[in-house]
Symmetry: C2
Subunit: 158 residues, 2 copies
DNA sequence: TTATACTCTACTGAGTCGATAGGAATGGAG
DNA sequence: CTCCATTCCTATCGACTCAGTAGAGTATAA
């Protein structure tokens, strides 16, 4: 699995929107400015996220973008898949499972890749935008405790 | 992290050499044939592996390739890094650690990526070619037990 | 000396990636 | 109704990577 600049920009933009979730619409220009993302490039990324129903938009003078669901319900794994494809290091989970069965001499190799993709999925599919925002704060505030908070609905510190 | 066809071919060729480890030299032609890899393409891959000191070669009539170290001492993680670069989903471990510290608004995001790369490394750096050969056999022979056998050098569980 | 095998360099055609340009559609403000 | 800020769409660009090929060069055993 590889995360491109596009994918990184998308995540940064979504984190921005997550932080502004209760504040209504946010304009592309503002996101691009504060996150140092080329504005025209971000345009295309947001359209992709809109088609994937992650964000919604309104046009015209008072337009802008907002998250379509609360930040606790948008998983990093989904975003990565939309922008950069499957989490697996080679092909996708279905193809890997297939090759485990059909390539007699190398079943174990693809099975190993499947383990890697499952390990990545275990992390990214259990981390929501809200979790990342929380983690940003934690890292910023000294980050002594190498705590692993899990779950889309995580709330409590400690 | 992304494993290219090149990386996959390399691993298949190395597994081939691991199985023939006690049998002396193996010719490119033979590997290419039995593993269905374009011969000229495999040529270049093996030179890369030779420069990385994973395999050694001898020229001339009775030439060929062999592993430079026993299959228990060659880790899949090393091979992937040689052919396809760092295991991290973005940049490498050093860059990620640096950005955790220097991007105040998104430290948590890069910290998350670091978790993913560590999860991948925990698997691939504890699996040797010998482990993969063993796993191939296991998968081939029914593969009921979803056992995780670890490498001769393995130390910590994930 | 010759056949066989590895070595090296260069190249190609297709595709991806980050980024930009220019305009069309939309909707609020005056 | 007209302006204008904003999202939306398409097209293009240059640089780069990737899978694969071509061909000449070098070492070695028989």
């Amino acid at each position: 699995m590889k995360v491109s600049h596009r994918g990184l920009y998308a995540l940064k933009a979504l984190i921005h929107l997550a932080e502004a979730y209760d504040g209504g619409l946010v304009k592309i220009h503002q996101i691009a400015d504060e996150e140092s993302i080329p504005e025209k490039f971000l345009e295309g990324i947001l359209v992709t996220l809109k088609n994937a129903r992650i964000v919604s938009s309104e046009r015209g003078r008072e337009g802008g973008y907002r998250l379509r669901r609360p930040p606790t319900e948008i998983l990093v794994g989904d975003v990565v898949r939309i922008l950069d494809g499957p989490l697996a290091p080679f092909g996708d989970a279905v193809e890997l499972a297939h090759r485990v069965r059909t390539e007699p001499r190398h079943g174990g190799l693809f099975d190993l890749f499947l383990d890697v993709r499952n390990a990545a999925a275990a992390i990214l599919d259990h981390t929501s935008l809200a979790d990342v925002v929380e983690r940003n704060r934690r890292v910023l505030a000294g980050r002594r405790g190498k705590n692993r908070r899990r779950g889309a609905t995580s709330r409590t510190p400690a």
